[in-house]
Every structure is written in structure tokens, then in C-alpha cells.
């Protein structure tokens, strides 16, 4: 049954790319150089965004289920650190997705959608690096949301609202350069930009070479800040667990 789900995931990603590209084609019918960006670039952006999304999937209710079932107490006693366990679990399943979902989808999309190659080889390498950082930003952000399960019984609402914000603000569905200026300025102050938009912009050569360093430093900075916040929450959660006896 699992295998069917992976297979369905491949189809899903392809269809999403296909349909979103169709919408963008319709948009470009009236103006073939919208805001100085060519249709081809937008098409590649959309495809990359959905391809990345199919790996940036994390187990949002893993910690919640541990907390509600009370298994967390016994997990904490195990010699391996619980946080390392959760992290490796998610990374492991993402790596698995790279093999099972991303590779087939990528091969098919290259043929189907005529994706642009990276702007340059160098940008290609930097894209890969930046995408890994984007994954970590999302992971740290998610971890903070997951931690809330120590205080709230159900985290469905928070997780869903988080997902919604990530979808709109991180450039997963729409290239951020099409956003109104005020909103774009605001997004630049948040970690969302670092998740999908920064890596894809680097791939497309939309970030001037001089600014790439800043963009990547910004990603790292967000990882540090979010990880720190997650760490503090984790300590508070452990404290709470001890007080209540699990």
C-alpha cells in the first residue's frame, strides 16, 4: 500500500506542475514579459518549487503522537537523544523520497516541461547547497510548531496554519517577485523567504552574484535563530514533563 502512495505522489507532483504551468501560460497570454520575467523562467520556478515540496515533507504529528500516547517518557530514557531521533527520522524519509519520488518526477518533468538548466554550473552547486539550508530552516520552524504539542492536546490547527503561511509566503506557489512591494519587503524579514524562494532564485540566476553570499548567510542565521528558539522550547517542555511526571 505504501508503494501505491509513493506512486500517487509522483503523479500528484506532475499534475500540480502541469496545471500551475497552464495557469501561468494563460497569464502570460496578455503580456509575454511580465515584470521583466520570461514565461520560461516562471515555468522552471514552478516546477522546481513543486519538486522541492515533494521532498520537504515532514512528519508533522510524530511528536504529538509520542506526547499524547505518553511514549515520550520512555523515549527520553533511551540512550539516543530524542531530538536526534526525530531529526534522523525525518531526514531518512526525505532521502527515501528523493529516490522514490523526486528522481522519477524530475526525469519526467525535464522531458515534459522543458525546464531551464541552472543559470551556471556554479549556481547549480550553490542551489543544491542553499536547498539543503532551506530544508533545515523549514525543519527548525516545524520543530517549534511541533513543540507546542507539549502544551496543547491537538496541534492540527497550528500545523495547518503554519503550512498555509509557508505555502503563501515562502514562494512555494507563487514567485515572490510577483508580490506587492510592501508584502515582499515584509517577507524578507521572515524566515519564509529562505525556504523555497532563495534556493530557486539562485538556480535561476535571479540573485546577483554579489548578493548570493548575503542570501546564504541569511539562511544560516535563520537556522541558528530558529534552532535556538526550538532548543529553549525543548528545555521548557522537558521541564514540564518532569513536573507532571510524564
Amino acid at each position: 500500500m505504501y508503494r501505491v502512495d509513493y506512486f500517487a505522489g509522483v503523479i500528484n507532483t506532475l499534475v500540480m506542475i502541469f496545471v500551475n504551468i497552464a495557469i501561468w501560460k494563460a497569464i502570460y497570454e496578455a503580456d509575454d514579459n511580465l515584470g521583466g520575467v520570461q514565461l520560461k523562467v516562471v515555468m522552471t520556478y514552478i516546477a522546481l518549487a513543486f519538486l522541492m515540496q515533494c521532498i520537504f515533507v515532514m512528519e508533522d504529528y510524530f511528536i504529538e503522537s509520542k506526547v499524547t500516547s505518553g511514549l515520550i517518557s520512555s523515549d527520553l530514557l533511551k540512550p539516543i537523544s530524542f531530538r536526534a531521533y526525530v531529526f534522523s527520522y525525518n531526514v531518512g524519509s526525505s532521502v527515501f523520497r528523493v529516490l522514490m519520488q523526486l528522481l522519477p518526477t524530475l526525469v519526467i518533468s525535464i522531458f515534459l516541461f522543458k525546464l531551464l538548466p541552472p543559470f551556471s554550473t556554479e549556481m547549480g552547486i550553490l542551489f543544491f547547497f542553499s536547498a539543503v539550508l532551506g530544508y533545515l530552516v523549514l525543519y527548525c520552524l516545524n520543530f517549534i510548531v511541533w513543540m507546542s504539542s507539549f502544551w496543547f492536546y491537538y496541534t492540527f490547527s497550528l500545523v495547518t496554519i503554519k503550512d498555509a503561511l509557508v505555502m503563501v509566503l515562502s514562494g512555494a506557489l507563487i514567485p515572490l517577485w510577483f508580490l506587492p512591494q510592501w508584502l515582499f519587503n515584509f517577507v524578507k524579514l521572515t524566515p519564509f523567504e529562505s525556504i523555497f524562494f532563495t534556493p530557486i532564485s539562485i538556480y535561476l540566476g535571479q540573485v546577483p552574484a554579489a548578493d548570493i553570499k548575503t542570501a546564504i548567510i541569511k539562511q544560516v542565521a535563520w537556522i541558528v535563530v530558529l534552532a535556538l528558539a526550538g532548543h529553549l522550547l525543548w528545555n521548557a517542555a522537558k521541564h514540564k514533563l518532569v513536573l507532571q511526571g510524564g
Binding site: F18, V19, A22, A26, I174, P180
Partner: protein, 278 residues
């Protein structure tokens, strides 16, 4: 005890009773359910927000303006909201089979489908989707240039109900598979919610194959596109047969009839095999 058939009125009263109990359940966890509703609302607003962001930038796509697109989208949300309000049980059917709730319904002196439908109401989803639909409708019904005369109002209501039946039938197909202990929920959600998302845009935006899919396979075109074209008469309608504008209720009824036959078949199979996979 002598068994008399239940009258329509009695069944209606009983349904109300069920909805009241469901409301009571929802209110048991007021705080949590409030945030769930909010989350559903926010989640559904994502596609609206993306549409809004694109259209503030490009003003119109293929001659469709923002208020017209939102009007089209409102059909999807309003009909889904009614569907959930009336037929939550059909959405959750596989769960009823899995937990054995279905067996419990079978030892009661009431129809099975009636009980499946009445037994559950997901108020969170109803309000979450409904709120998006109402906001979209209220902000556009006046500005898209519709003369809300009697004829149009009747058309609107019939189209909306047709849309409800179409979505009910789509969900019910997947429910029927549960009778054979085949789980199709994931696949169903994938097909249903993606198609629904596409149907948020006029189908003329898509290549022919997607259009055909949305007309013949997962007929969401009759839920949103054709009903809104009836009111808006955009030039892109010219490639489709004009009769499609009036077909929504017909498509709904045909689909439901076919699915109901499938359902009877499934029930027959269930009573000979039980909930074996689970």
C-alpha cells in the same frame, strides 16, 4: 414491537436530533474546535490568497477579472460546505467500516444510507469552508453584473445543489470501495482536492485533456465553471457546447444514480463478507 415505516417527517426530526447531538459533541471541545475551524478557513484561503496576489499584479487573465474569478470560486466552497453539512458520513465512511460502526447501524430499524448521512456533521469543516464561500460570494455577487431576478435565483440554487450532488457522488464512489475492504481514501483525497483546486480557475485556462477530465471524469466543471459562465458569458465559453450551462443538476442526478447502484452492490458484498480487511 410492531414495526411501522418511518414517515418523512419522523426521519427529518430524527436527523435534527442527530445534528443537535453532533453540535453538542463539537461544543464539548469548544476551544479546540474553534481553532480547527480557523485552521480550515486559513488553509482554504491559501488558494484565494495566491489568486489575489496574481490578479493584483496582472488585473485579468484571459478576460477574467478578480471579482469574476472569485465568484466562480465561491461555487466550489459553498457547495462543498453544504455537502459536508449534509453528508459528512459519506466522507468518513471508511472509518465507520473500520471501527465497526457500520455493524451497529445494521442492527437498527433504519436505512443504512440514512444513518450514515445523519450520524455525523463536521461543523468545523462546514463553517471553515462555508466562511470562505460566503466571503467570496458576498464580495462579488453585486459587482459581476448579475441581475438577481427570479429566474437567475432559481438557476443559482439548482446549480449549487447540483454541485453538492456531484461532489457527494464523487465521495461516495470511494466509500463504496470500503465495502470490499479496499481503502481508497488517500487516492480519493488526491484526486478530489486537486481537481477541486483546478476547478477554482476557469477550465478554459487548461489544455484540452485537463478540460475533458474536469468535464467527463471528475466533473467539477459543472460545479463551478459552467454555472458561473451562465451568469458571466465570457468569450472563452464559445469552445464548449452551450447546453453544458444547464446540465449541472442532470449530471448530479445521473452520477448519483449510478453511484447508488454501485453502493447497493457494495452493501450486498459487505453483508456476505463482513469487514474482513480491518
Amino acid at each position: 414491537m410492531e414495526h411501522k415505516k418511518f414517515s418523512k417527517l419522523e426521519l427529518l426530526k430524527l436527523s435534527l436530533k442527530y445534528s443537535k447531538l453532533n453540535l453538542k459533541c463539537t461544543l464539548e471541545y469548544k476551544f479546540d474546535r474553534f481553532f480547527t475551524t480557523l485552521a480550515v478557513f486559513v488553509r482554504e484561503m491559501v488558494s484565494i490568497a495566491v489568486m489575489y496576489l496574481i490578479l493584483t499584479r496582472v488585473i485579468s487573465i484571459k478576460g477574467w477579472q478578480m471579482n469574476e474569478m472569485f465568484f466562480l470560486y465561491s461555487f466550489l466552497f459553498l457547495s462543498y460546505c453544504i455537502f459536508i453539512f449534509l453528508f459528512t458520513g459519506i466522507r468518513d465512511f471508511d472509518n465507520m467500516v473500520y471501527t465497526g460502526e457500520l455493524d451497529r447501524y445494521l442492527i437498527r430499524p433504519l436505512g443504512l444510507l440514512y444513518q450514515v448521512i445523519s450520524a455525523r456533521v463536521d461543523y468545523c469543516a462546514t463553517i471553515g469552508h462555508g466562511a470562505v464561500g460566503v466571503i467570496l460570494f458576498l464580495s462579488t455577487y453585486n459587482s459581476v453584473g448579475i441581475d438577481w431576478n427570479f429566474r437567475n435565483i432559481v438557476y443559482y440554487i439548482l446549480a449549487l445543489l447540483g454541485g453538492v450532488i456531484i461532489q457527494t457522488s464523487l465521495f461516495m464512489v470511494s466509500s463504496c470501495f470500503s465495502f470490499w475492504a479496499v481503502r481508497t481514501t488517500n487516492l480519493r483525497n488526491l484526486i478530489f482536492f486537486n481537481s477541486r483546486r483546478f476547478a477554482g480557475y476557469p477550465i478554459s485556462f487548461y489544455p484540452g485533456i485537463v478540460q475533458k477530465m474536469l468535464i467527463f471524469a471528475v466533473p467539477f466543471a459543472f460545479v463551478s465553471y459552467f454555472p458561473s459562465e451562465y451568469f458571466l458569458h465570457k468569450p472563452d465559453l464559445s469552445v464548449f457546447w452551450h447546453g453544458c450551462l444547464y446540465l449541472t443538476p442532470v449530471v448530479g442526478i445521473i452520477m448519483f444514480t449510478l453511484v447508488y447502484i454501485f453502493w447497493r452492490l457494495g452493501l450486498k458484498s459487505y453483508s456476505s463478507s463482513g469487514n474482513s480487511m480491518y
